[in-house]
């Protein structure tokens, strides 16, 4: 090989290497930054008072984020409770019952649903859902944990439908034939055999939904009332994400208040890491 060519070759290999490790560097950088900037407030307030404290009042120097943690967890669970049945049923219909043409229409609708900016979900939720919830439960405000859960459930729906229907499509026909040959109906077959065979795909779909729901801020800040209460289904609430968004702009630089917001970011980050760890455990190929 001539020396000139070898230099070009080496240079490009170097470029590829840098691009390759960039993603690792970015994740590591973000993690380190969050830890460094998130630890001080936790240390100052005390981990127990920070994580388990029930009141958040920056003006009075109270920084308990339990309401946010519980709201994020409950809001996500609520979104799953609505989104999983809807999404899984839709996926079964899409993969097993729908005609080819209708399936194509549904698939493009689902893709569109995934592509809608979250602020638009928030707007629609604010205009349609908030007044509806207010009227349905005769509340003073319809911006509640329930409303946010409903909006989140719609937002995670495309993930659950897509991943689940892909997993269902991959179930070998032989399983379904075996079940039908035993005298099972189609519905019994799809729910007891096909979904069972596709369960790791369904689990992936759910975990991705959890990730999406936990990280969402824009849509839910518009429909959840954004008040730092302990969560109640029909009360106004504030999520981990929305807690950061709503106060960052006026928390003075270097203050405990600002640092506490970084700590919330760290807590959120830990949640997301946990979700991803669970995800990788689920998708890891089974030992035969």
């Amino acid at each position: 090989m001539n020396p000139k060519k070898s230099i070009v070759e080496k240079t490009f290999q170097g470029v590829f290497f840098v691009c390759g490790v960039l993603s690792i560097a970015l994740v590591a950088g973000i993690a380190i930054y969050l830890i460094v900037s998130g630890i001080p407030a936790i240390a100052e307030v005390g981990p127990a008072r920070f994580l388990l404290g029930q009141t958040w009042n920056a003006g009075k120097g109270e920084f308990g984020i339990l309401p946010f943690i519980l709201t994020s967890i409950l809001g996500t669970l609520g979104a799953l409770a609505l989104g999983i049945p809807l999404g899984v049923f839709a996926a079964v219909y899409l993969s097993k019952f729908a005609g080819k043409r209708l399936a194509r229409v549904i698939r493009s609708a689902v893709e569109l649903l995934a592509g809608i900016p979250s602020v638009v979900y928030g707007l629609v939720g604010m205009i349609v859902l908030v007044p509806a919830v207010q009227r349905a439960f005769s509340l003073s405000s319809g911006a509640t944990l329930l409303t946010a859960s409903i909006v989140l459930s719609v937002m995670i729906l495309p993930y659950i439908i897509n991943v689940t229907s892909t997993a269902l499509d991959a179930v070998p026909k032989e399983y379904e034939e075996g079940s039908l040959a035993l005298g099972a109906t189609e519905t019994e077959t799809y729910f007891r055999v096909s979904l069972h065979a596709a369960r790791s795909g369904v689990a992936v779909a759910i975990i991705q939904g959890v990730g999406r729901a936990l990280g969402e801020a824009m849509a839910i800040i518009m429909v959840s009332g954004n008040v730092a209460n302990m969560p109640h289904p029909l009360g106004s609430v504030r999520f981990l994400t929305t807690a950061i968004v709503s106060e960052m702009s006026y928390a003075p630089y270097g203050s405990l208040h600002r640092n506490a917001l970084f700590s919330i970011g760290l807590v959120l980050f830990v949640f997301i890491v946990l979700v991803n760890v669970v995800l990788s455990l689920v998708v890891r190929p089974k030992e035969a």
Binding site: Y175, G178, S179, A181, R192, V193, H196, A197, A288
Partner: protein, 250 residues
């Protein structure tokens, strides 16, 4: 006494006429082998007996298939009941990705058996009938996919037996197995005919000769000859049968 009486059965896949005027009676509690070269229609015929062809698009069927005197293609026939009575084991073992126990209990559960004790009993009896119990009794909760190919195929037979069928259809069920597993399943089939009607598609002439009481020879969609196996092999009434069983083509 016949399990099935098939009368002038004609079958099309789209425009392709694959079964021509097939008529035969399949005797109860005997093993009937369906033989013939690839593409002769024997598998299609087998699948017409439990209406698995319903799953194929563009199939048209004329004529009648009576099971226990009832036309299974008559309007209003409950296909799930038919398939409960006419079990099927496929060419490739298709154990579900569940435990051995749940594989066997699947059918009974579908048909409404809920009690644990009853299920336990059914699972054990079906596995014993399929000559698999001794090999798996200590690992019933383990995944069925950990079994060998031959064991999985016997599991599929046990699964079919668990719903209490009268007929067992075997679609080349030993073609993917090693000789020892094949022998086990052949022994099993010979024993099963005491209680069940068995109809098996096979490419293996020796197997047909060893296991079956009756044999039907299909060629290009025609039922050429149907006779007791011994006679069909030793003194066939049709020239084409003679050529096939003596290995001159196929």
């Amino acid at each position: 006494m016949n399990s099935f009486d098939v009368d002038i059965l004609n079958l099309w896949y789209g425009d392709n006429h694959v079964l021509h005027d097939v008529s035969l009676g399949i005797p109860a509690r005997r093993v009937t082998a369906l033989i013939g070269p690839s593409g002769c229609g024997k598998s299609t015929f087998l699948k017409s007996l439990n209406r698995m062809l319903d799953l194929v698009e563009g199939v048209r069927i004329e004529g009648s298939v009576l099971f226990d005197g009832q036309d299974i293609y008559a309007p209003g026939v409950d296909v799930t009941t038919l398939r409960k009575n006419v079990g099927m084991v496929f060419q490739k073992a298709n154990a579900f990705p569940m435990s051995i126990y749940d594989n066997i209990a699947y059918g009974p559960r579908i048909h409404g058996v809920r009690k644990r004790g009853e299920l336990d009993e059914l699972v054990e009896r079906s596995l014993r009938d399929a000559a698999l119990w001794d090999e798996v009794k200590d690992r019933l909760t383990k995944s069925a996919l950990g079994l060998s190919g031959g064991q999985q195929q016997r599991l599929c037979i046990a699964r079919a037996l668990a719903v209490g069928p009268q007929v067992l259809l075997l679609d080349e069920s030993t073609s993917a197995l090693d000789p020892i597993s094949t022998e086990k399943i052949e022994e099993l089939v010979s024993r099963l005919k005491r209680d069940y009607t068995v109809v098996m598609v096979t490419h293996n002439m020796q197997q047909a000769l060893r296991v079956s009481d009756y044999a039907a020879f299909f060629l290009l969609g025609d039922l050429v000859e149907f006779a007791p196996t011994e006679r069909l092999f030793n003194s066939p009434g049709d020239r084409r049968t003679a050529d096939y069983v003596s290995g001159r083509f196929g």
